[in-house]
Symmetry: C2
Subunit: 152 residues, 2 copies
């Protein structure tokens, strides 16, 4: 039986008195299978293939819900702001080229020492971290140097 959403989601939803609807299944299918972060608009366009009647409003609402349930995470990027990615994988960060926008993903992030120290000092209960690196990719390094030349 293909395309049946994982029983976990179904259970999680029931536990919160939420329904597993066709629109939600379509969004879920796209975002949990994504190999890279997707904007709400991208999720919308792709999920419509499976469920053409889908509304953008519902995409936003479903993405919010999935973040709450911990299935996906919200990502903040320099351009375009706000994408979503599955949380499944250990957990991802991005290294983005500030010139061409090309991005690499990486998973390693040794923040535990920092996080523990900060928790002690501030009393916060730290749950999430956002780490993004920016620089120039190898390709762009071979090109121009200076900080944004004027048009002249």
């Amino acid at each position: 039986m293909p395309n049946v959403p994982s029983p976990t989601v179904h259970t999680d939803l029931r536990a919160h008195h939420r329904k597993l609807t066709r629109p939600r299944q379509a969004v879920l299918a796209i975002i949990t299978a994504a190999t890279r972060h997707l904007t709400p608009a991208e999720v919308y366009r792709q999920a419509k293939v499976q469920y053409p009647h889908l509304g953008l409003t519902t995409v936003y609402r479903t993405l919010d819900l999935l973040v709450e349930l911990g299935y996906i995470q919200r990502i903040h990027l320099e351009e375009g702001c706000h994408s979503y990615a599955p949380t499944a994988r250990p957990h991802g960060h991005h290294l983005v080229c500030s010139e061409c926008g090309r991005a690499e993903e990486f998973a390693e992030c040794d923040l535990d020492t920092l996080v523990r120290a900060l928790q002690t000092r501030t009393g916060y209960e730290i749950q999430v971290h956002v780490l993004e690196l920016m620089g120039r990719c190898p390709t762009c390094q071979t090109k121009s140097r200076p900080l944004r030349a004027r048009k002249k």
Copy 2:
């Protein structure tokens, strides 16, 4: 002679064929003196005190310019997205409470090892890092627990 912008800015601007105008001075005064991150709208409202004729469009343009010149940095927060803060201080990160929005600043971030490893592996020339932590502040911890209860 009070309120004269630091000679550095003036020089930097000239070097890039840019002018030091009244509107820019007003924006510069606010954002470089800020003790916390400010949104463009906040900068606008505050800078208008000094230069009432200021336009919001100019605030956006000036903030972009100052980022390019390295005087301020763009900050990505969960709510409201996009604030700006002076780069002067060693360099700052934020620990934000996901419930009440209260924020702490912190400066320590041992990313050098990570950054060097990634540079080697990817060939990127890493210039900037964004690190934000989120969690529950001490106050909010004393309140409700669960992940967003339904209204009933």
